[in-house]
């Protein structure tokens, strides 16, 4: 066993993560890079052991890129990701292999992330094979154990992905992440493709497993009510940066950033009075090809002033555990 981390020791720390994707002209790479898509401009946050951190944002906010960069599925342009105080970029091949065992990924579309020509059993065994864990029989036993944990039947071992319903496929996706006995699971929109009655099943399983297996979850989603239900802490992303971060209850009791307020009020919710005041944002999220100067939100912000156009607001701790990136909000 590795030494127990104290409560204040983050298991994973992301420090000023930046990811740019090059854009080439019509002749490909021949004449160099035309410009860059600034998918993630400056993201820092910490994941503590056993918690669920929700990363929320609209499409194009860079939430998925953040998740993928943390896993090393795409290299970061700059910034650091520390796992148990080790910089991931400086890991040797062997260390990286161990890291990959500890951190797993669940994708949005369970069908396109499963090989259609393989049965579920071999799909689930493959990671064990790659990491050379156990012999054939042990691996099979492990698969049957995991199938049971995620609520599937032993006979599903021999089925193909197309024989499963959407909810079952997402259970297989979960099973594949769990089979390595990971410490962290990054879930990228795991319930967005599912119907509400199936969605609640998967959310329940996730919550249960987390408690049982002491998992740390990074939960990436655009769905505000889902993230409220599942997360302990939430980071709100807009155009490549985190604009607000707080404990879930604090955030929903009193969102501070103008974008967070607008986002929450845009959620259609049948529990709310139909005639309640809504903040409807004008315009759309700007292109990450040419993000606005200063505060990225100033083009849509109803309260924007001159300083917002000129200076980038940093994330400031406004209240205990609540950080906001806005010029107009100061510490109480």
């Amino acid at each position: 066993m590795r030494n127990e981390t104290t409560a204040n020791q983050p298991i994973l720390e992301v420090i000023s993560l930046e990811k740019k994707f090059p854009v080439y002209g019509s002749f490909g790479k021949w004449f160099g890079t035309k410009s860059y898509v600034n998918a993630v401009t400056d993201v820092s946050f910490r994941l503590y052991k056993g918690e669920t951190y929700g990363l929320v944002g609209e499409s194009g906010s860079g939430k998925s890129t953040t998740g993928r960069t943390i896993l090393g599925l795409t290299p970061a342009t700059s910034g650091q990701v520390l796992y148990e105080d080790k910089d991931l970029a400086k890991l040797t091949r062997n260390e990286l292999r161990k890291f990959r065992k500890d951190i797993q990924f669940v994708f949005q579309d369970p069908f396109s992330s499963l090989n259609p020509r393989k049965r579920i059993g071999p799909i689930l065994e493959e990671p064990l094979l790659i990491h050379k864990m156990g012999d054939q029989k042990q691996r099979q036993e492990q698969v049957f154990r995991i199938l049971e944990i995620v609520g599937l039947q032993p006979e599903h071992y021999f089925r193909y992905p197309h024989e499963f319903s959407g909810g079952q496929r997402q259970r297989v996706g979960l099973a594949r992440a769990l089979i390595m006995n990971p410490k962290i699971i990054v879930c990228d929109e795991p319930v967005s493709a599912l119907d509400v009655s199936i969605q609640s099943q998967i959310l329940n399983i996730l919550k249960e497993l987390q408690k049982e297996l002491q998992l740390t979850l990074l939960f990436i989603t655009h769905d505000i009510s889902v993230v409220r239900y599942i997360s302990d802490r939430i980071g709100i992303m807009y155009l490549g940066t985190i604009v607000e971060e707080a404990l879930t209850d604090d955030l929903f009791n009193e969102p501070l950033h103008p974008y967070t307020k607008a986002l929450f009020s845009a959620v259609p919710d049948f529990t709310r009075n139909r005639l309640s005041e809504r903040v409807i944002l004008k315009g759309e999220i700007p292109s990450p090809l040419s993000p606005p100067s200063g505060c990225v939100f100033h083009t849509r912000c109803p309260y924007a002033t001159d300083i917002c156009k000129a200076e980038v607001p940093g994330l400031k701790e406004v209240r205990p555990n609540q950080r906001v990136a806005c010029h107009l909000i100061s510490a109480h």
């Binding site: 119907d195 009510s225 239900y229 607008a262 959620v267 259609p268 049948f270 809504r278």
Partner: protein
């Protein structure tokens, strides 16, 4: 309110003839829409809500393996038995439709303006120039900034929200009496969704058109619709006003759906409600009540006899044998 409904659907059934036999996707749906009303159809994937909406204007006609039954009356005309040429004059003119994915319903090789002009000239005797002017007007009405420039854009040059606005502009260009909106906001971000919902409601107010709004999102329904029909396996199982649906849902399926959504004011530490099992395949609809296989209250009768749509009061109908017992309404209803 107008005494003659704008659209009257009576016992509509849509069958597909497949290799494995006849499959009934829509199984006896009846409802009416009055002028200026926004009616919501809610259901999970596979409940037949999209097939139902497309059956109304017979969009599925090109497959000869399809069979309609029942009656669809629009403005005193019967759409299901009408010759297709006559129906074409109605589609796009008096009944318009918008779909979930705007990019795949817009023609990528024509400009937005071109496509709106085409709709206008198909249905109205106006010159190209006038049609172009009108195209700019409808684009402006849907809130597209600088429509004089945007009218010459190709679909891929617009963002998702703008594409959906362009679709709505096209649908509204002939000032339809009825708009069928099939999941128009599902592909959009919440802040953009809020804009589109606001737009549809405003156009409904100003133009007085009826709207059939199809969605899986109960939250969206609560924002926009005056009354709601809940569909399950090709049938309407509950039909009531929006207020009543959320305040006193009577059908066990509706109750399950509402409970399984994480609520913005709910307890985060409680387990979410789960509707047991999965939606059966429409090729294999259960005997008796179609929800019986997943219903926590199902008894002998539910498995054998199909319940009828029962009127609880003037505003509320439900298709369930035991709704009174489940909801403690015995003696009161």
């Amino acid at each position: 309110m107008n005494s003659v409904p704008l659209l009257e659907v009576k016992n509509l059934k849509t069958h597909f003839h497949t290799e494995r036999g006849r499959v009934t996707a829509v199984n006896g749906v009846s409802f009416t829409i009055n002028k200026g009303e926004i009616i919501g159809i809610v259901g999970e994937s596979g409940c037949g809500k999209s097939v139902m909406s497309q059956s109304i204007i017979r969009l599925l006609e090109h497959t000869d393996s399809i069979e309609y039954e029942g009656e669809v009356r629009f403005d005193n005309q019967e759409l299901l038995s009408m010759p297709i040429s006559q129906l074409r004059a109605i589609r796009g003119d008096e009944i318009a439709m918008i779909f979930q994915d705007p990019l795949s319903s817009l023609n990528p090789v024509y400009t937005i303006g071109n496509q709106i002009v085409e709709v206008l000239r198909q249905h109205q005797k106006i010159s190209k120039k006038e049609a172009h002017k009108k195209a700019i007007e409808v684009l402006r009405a849907t809130g597209i900034p600088s429509p004089e420039i945007r009218v010459n854009d190709y679909p891929h040059q617009l963002s998702g929200g703008m594409q959906q606005r362009a679709m709505i502009a096209m649908a509204l260009s002939c000032e339809p009496k009825l708009l069928i909106a099939d999941e128009p906001t599902t592909a959009l971000d919440v802040t953009i969704q809020a804009q589109i919902i606001e737009l549809i409601m405003e156009l409904n107010r100003t133009m007085g058109m009826g709207v059939l709004f199809i969605t899986h999102d109960l939250g969206v329904v609560s924002e926009i619709c005056t009354s709601v029909k809940v569909m399950y396996l090709g049938q309407i199982v509950e039909d009531t006003t929006t207020e009543r649906l959320f305040a006193t849902p009577l059908h066990p399926y509706t109750q399950g759906l509402i409970k399984s959504i994480p609520r913005m004011d709910g307890n985060r530490h409680e387990k979410l409600h789960v509707i047991e099992g999965t939606v059966p395949s429409i090729a294999d609809i259960p005997r008796g009540c179609s929800f019986s296989t997943r219903c926590p209250y199902a008894d002998e009768r539910c498995f054998n006899e199909e319940p009828l749509m029962e009127k609880v009061n003037a505003e509320h109908s439900v298709k369930c044998w035991n709704y009174a017992a489940i909801n403690n309404l015995e003696g009161r209803a």
